[in-house]
């Protein structure tokens, strides 16, 4: 018996039984997950819980991109990394953790920084992209690449005690540039490494990113497209607001946009945002 013709082995039926029992999800939802491929860009604060939940729930192929190594000051929030991995590649560490909780799915390691030179090739191999990065140029680059490739993008961010979440480029909805055509001033682009972050806040946003990706992959529920979740941890307030739709005038996804693979590869995101795609590990001057 291979599970109602849905290709579920008896082991899978047992492992995912709490999903199969759920009328609104069921065998169809689980099959969707098992057939899907999801790429998580960034194995840090957002990527940690997103990767663990995506691995656990049975996404067929799960990719991880990161060029960083695990540091002790990551561990207060990057719960996928154990102390034993300090100094080693975040991708290796995250992949090992995902395999340890679910050896039946495929985990793909991309141990490199995402750049315009490799983004098209890497992203094209996945159905759904999760932006779990920590800087403005990466966010523009990933969104533009998703538009060029026609991939839905689950975008989360966290800083201080606040978090934000939405789904871009899904089903006719807006892309990142529709909302933010002009990059913000660099003084408004703080990173967790500069300004601090309450560790569990990216945890909550990362879990919500996994949920949105699961909904898209399984075709269950209403993804958070055209809406944005705003989370304020200290006051325990959450707003889900209505945002603009796709802009006809968007330079990347708009009606007369000429953006394509070649323009993407030639685009200088660091210059556009006046900030670097990745930084050398910060030398802490706290003391």
């Amino acid at each position: 018996d291979s599970g109602f013709g849905h290709g579920l082995s008896p082991d899978m039926i047992y492992r995912y039984s709490r999903h199969l029992l759920l009328p609104s999800f069921g065998v169809q939802g689980q099959s969707g997950l098992l057939k899907s491929s999801i790429l998580v860009v960034g194995a840090g604060g957002l990527g940690s819980p997103a990767l663990l939940y995506l691995a656990a729930c049975g996404v067929g192929r799960l990719g991880i991109v990161d060029h960083d190594v695990v540091e002790l000051n990551n561990l207060h929030r990057q719960i996928i990394h154990a102390e034993a991995y300090i100094g080693r590649s975040k991708v290796e560490s995250a992949a090992a953790a995902c395999r340890s909780i679910n050896s039946s799915i495929q985990i793909v390691e991309h141990k490199e920084a995402l750049r315009t030179s490799n983004a098209l090739e890497i992203l094209s191999k996945y159905d759904i992209i999760i932006d779990a990065t920590d800087n403005a140029p990466s966010r523009y680059m990933i969104s533009d690449c998703c538009v060029v490739l026609g991939k839905p993008l689950v975008s989360g961010a966290a800083l201080g005690s606040e978090g934000q979440l939405t789904v871009y480029n899904y089903n006719g909805g807006p892309c990142y540039r529709c909302l933010f055509p002009t990059p913000p001033p660099t003084t408004a682009c703080q990173r967790c490494s500069d300004s601090g972050v309450l560790g569990v806040v990216p945890g909550i946003i990362g879990c919500l990113q996994a949920l949105e990706a699961i909904k898209i992959a399984s075709a269950v529920g209403e993804p958070l497209s055209g809406r944005m979740l705003l989370f304020d941890a200290l006051s325990a307030r959450i707003r889900i607001v209505k945002i603009r739709g796709r802009s006809l005038h968007c330079e990347v996804c708009g009606e007369s946009a000429a953006f394509n693979r070649q323009l993407f590869q030639d685009f200088d995101y660091e210059k556009f945002t006046q900030s670097p795609l990745s930084t050398a590990p910060l030398k802490l001057n706290l003391l």
Partner: protein
């Protein structure tokens, strides 16, 4: 006119780190209060430092989302949006961290 103004994503740092402001904004008799008027009022009355982190030319700086009653102001006419008694307006800076 009673309004609830809220600042987030770091913009609260420009207003003494206070996120929620219950304010009373006067407008001329019979005149409508627009978002354009409100921005000017906010700059005068609430923004205590680095106004360039809030405004650029006659509107909010790039990277700031404006929500009128939990709805993107792009959908209600941006600067021309007309406000009514007890409306809520949120100014939130987009985050990039993770």
């Amino acid at each position: 006119m009673q309004l609830t103004l809220e600042f987030g994503g770091g913009l609260e740092l420009l207003c003494d780190s206070v996120k929620v402001h219950n304010v009373n904004v006067d407008q001329g008799a019979g005149e409508k209060l627009t978002m354009k008027n409100l921005l000017a009022w906010v700059c005068t009355n609430l923004i205590k430092e680095r106004p360039e982190m809030f405004m650029k030319e006659d509107t909010v700086r790039p990277g700031v989302l404006v929500l009128v009653n939990d709805c993107d102001w792009e959908l209600s006419g941006q600067l021309d949006t007309t406000l009514e008694e007890k409306d809520s307006v949120v100014f939130i800076s987009t985050l990039h961290g993770g």
